[in-house]
Symmetry: C2
Subunit: 167 residues, 2 copies
């Protein structure tokens, strides 16, 4: 599976190689990350971790996630849903984001023709290209929501979705 982070054992080695210590909380977090193919938020990882280690702190989760990002084992991504998401998929790819529930899905496709023309670049040096496709996921597209709103009007969608339809 191309979508997962390295195994807990590999990550442990990486940390050790850098002279860093191994702890129970890191092991737990490594295992959780290794077992998901999604784009979890720090909060989500925290909830998961708490099940097996009730005393782990949110601070430690952020710390470890940031460490992994710094080591290039995880990519941080911000799709405007309020909180950062951590993406274990290191291969170049893009994202599909549900405007309603916030679900994020990978689009493992390369668009080689997407580039900024000289005339509009204005001296800019482009290093990465991120494409975000927004719309409705299959679940949310069925329109029937508890509050009965039709939701298609982009002009008034001021709400930050938090349904956590995390698949």
């Amino acid at each position: 599976m191309v979508l997962a982070v390295k195994s807990p054992a590999e990550l442990t080695d990486l940390f050790r190689d850098r002279g860093r210590k191994m702890t129970a909380q890191r092991q737990a977090l490594f295992a959780i990350l290794h077992g998901t193919e999604a784009h979890p938020t720090a909060e989500w990882v925290y909830e998961r971790a708490r099940r097996q280690m009730p005393t782990i702190s949110l601070r430690t989760v952020y710390q470890t996630l940031n460490d992994l990002v710094a080591m290039g084992e995880l990519e941080q991504l911000d799709v405007g849903t309020g909180s950062a998401r951590f993406d274990p998929n290191l291969a170049p790819h893009h994202h599909l984001v549900c405007d309603d529930c916030g679900r994020v899905q990978d689009v493992p496709v390369d668009f080689p023709d997407v580039a900024v023309p000289q005339e509009v670049a204005g001296g800019f040096t482009v290093s990465t290209t991120e494409i975000v496709f927004r719309g409705l996921c299959a679940t949310c597209a069925h329109g029937t929501r508890a509050d009965g709103t039709a939701d298609r009007a982009p002009s008034q969608s001021n709400h930050h979705p938090h349904k956590e339809c995390h698949a």
Copy 2:
């Protein structure tokens, strides 16, 4: 100029048509927005407004900006720099973002071939496509920064840039 919001007079009419009142603070904000072609943050607009109206509140700035977004006269965009930016360019376009200073520049180009293939869409209904090109603007690319850091290493750029090189 395709990049600016409607004139203060036009916006005034739009508000009046919707049965809303006109106030000095709205006029001031309309004028400021009409005079910029950039992608200001609420804070930036607030600073500007305060020069002519020292008692205006940040709350009012957010309120008005949100109203304009709701009316479709402004687009809100989040490029992960910490605060939302308000884009007066209503034509479909993309963005160039400087990883160092946060500057945002328009890319008024259409990429008709960018679409999510059926196989990976998984029932998703795509309504918008946003492309963000990240890199360094001409100013920041000259590398010589006060702290002497070279900055090219993407693995440790944990800092939220706030130099406000707002052009």
